[in-house]
Amino acid sequence: MIRDITIGQYFPTGSFLHKLDPRSKIILVLCYLVLIFACRNFFGLGLIVTLTLLFVAVSKVSFKLIFKGLKSIVLIIIFTSLLQLFYNDKGDILLEFWKIKITTGGVFTAIFMAVRICCLILVSSLLTYTTSPTLLTDAIERLLSPLNKIHVPVHTLAMMMTIALRFIPTLIEEIDHIMSAQKARGASLDTGSLTERAKALIPIFVPLFINSFRRAFDLAFAMECRCYHGGAGRTRLRVMKLGYRDAIAFAVTTIAIVGVILFNIFFKSVI
């Protein structure tokens, strides 16, 4: 069941989005996240939804996978939307019974909320779907490298992130193994009261921790054998170069930004 999580995974399909410079992807995603919250009427929202679906299509990652990722947060979306629906009392009253009052304002905000969260998740997961984790951390490292000047250990942090990403699947596999091993010895993990279940987790996490320390020592050894000595003087296999694709992506984003601003100015905001 732990293996079903798709958020944060990478699907190499070699699409246009995959070939973008990861640095521009990060910046563009940040732009879209701001944009998603900046739009205030249905025209802007429509533009954003269209663009998001366009990106999904361009990424060539299968729709099934993408919506599987969304499924895990459906509950959150429904919950926040319902909250908006019942608590917002702006606008005309559509429906009123007992103590509940549903207004147009409530309906609009609920729709906005749901669509925004979906777009938010889609756009940010597209970033990880189309960028290998190493490239991603690499890009973050390069984007943050000015911070080196004020003595933030950017390279070290990026390396820590890479290693964490590298070992997550290994540790998940290990949890699976340990769980099976403990179950084989008669441990029951999904019955009993909450405290009993919490207690049953101890024999899973203790070996996990011990093994993790062993792994950490081994890995440090392997890294040192391969002459790792921090970020100084390191070269990179992958060069990052802005290309015509990045120009296209930036152009599209600029149009989107201008579009949303114009819509905001010329049309009434609904929330």
């Binding site: 792994r215 391969r226 002459c227 790792y228 003087g233 060069v239």
Partner: protein, 286 residues
């Protein structure tokens, strides 16, 4: 002509215990020489100091007494560290714990990246190393989607990409299934053909039978060195050190003890079959 690539001169090493006390010597007066291009196997039971020897070879540990030379470089001199680690590389037992990056080719590039190799050359080095271990098609894979044998070959490629001349394998097949074992051994033998110097630390006697030289360790000491034939004929001594001689060797010895004429130095199934059929044919003639 015979250039020495690795030389231990009466080396002692003892670990420190948790309270700072000195533990008994893990390596206890070891001397040997390994020439360029040789394939040397180191055998020994658990805790006999094999891994410690491996760590001493590339200055990850420095001997408390005695000297170790990699080519002409003394491992106790700190400035030699880089030279030493680009000459001798280590592949460890656990395939999961020595892969650093999240994509195969980036992991292979990790070593040379640290050395500051320029990007163009990095590319060719990585591609060549991956081709050499037969993993080029997997260069975009995530390591956790590979089998143990494949991961081990990636680790080998990572060492090759640093252009090391000598590779020390510390029980590289101990955690693999038979298929993975075969793959890794095939890769090691390929490297041998290509002229790499190979030190194979192993539990499996069968992996040592075609070595140029075998070093047998027990409790931190070398108790036996020689060609496979010289070593495996000493089955009693090996038995004392908890080491099992290849089964065919034991079998032919048992047959010989039953009064059938068999040579002492049979190490592989093929040799056994040849000797045995020769025997039978001779009997028929009589």
């Amino acid at each position: 002509m015979n250039e020495t690539i690795l030389k231990f001169e009466d080396v002692y090493y003892a670990y420190e215990g948790d309270e700072g006390e000195t533990l008994p010597n893990a390596v206890d007066g070891v001397s040997f020489e390994i020439n360029k291009g040789e394939f040397v196997a180191i055998l020994g039971h658990n805790g006999s100091g094999k891994s410690t020897v491996a760590k001493l070879t590339n200055a990850m540990l420095v001997p408390q007494k005695g000297k170790i030379f990699v080519k002409e470089y003394d491992t106790s001199v700190e400035d030699n560290e880089l030279k030493i680690r680009t000459t001798v590389g280590i592949v460890m037992q656990n395939p999961d714990n020595q892969i650093v990056a999240t994509i195969v080719e980036e992991d292979v590039a990790f070593g040379p990246e640290n050395l500051g190799v320029p990007q163009k050359e990095l590319r060719t080095r990585v591609d060549n190393a991956l081709k050499l271990v037969g993993m080029y098609e997997y260069k975009d894979y995530e390591p956790h989607k590979l089998s143990g044998g494949q991961k081990q070959r990636i680790a080998i490629a990572g060492v090759i990409a640093m252009q090391t001349e000598c590779i020390v394998f510390d029980e590289p097949t101990a955690m693999l299934d038979p298929k993975g074992r075969k793959e890794v051994l095939a890769a090691i033998h390929d490297l041998r053909q290509k002229g790499y110097t190979i030190v194979l630390i192993t539990h499996f006697m069968e992996e040592a039978v075609d070595a140029d030289k075998i070093i047998v360790m027990n409790d931190g000491k070398i108790i036996l060195t020689g060609t496979p034939k010289e070593v495996f004929t000493q089955s009693d001594l090996l038995y004392e050190c908890d080491l099992a001689v290849p089964q065919v060797t034991l079998l032919s010895k048992a047959i010989k003890n039953n009064g059938i004429n068999m040579p002492d130095d049979i190490l592989t199934t093929d040799e056994f079959i040849n000797a045995f059929t020769a025997n039978i044919k001779q009997k028929r003639k009589l």
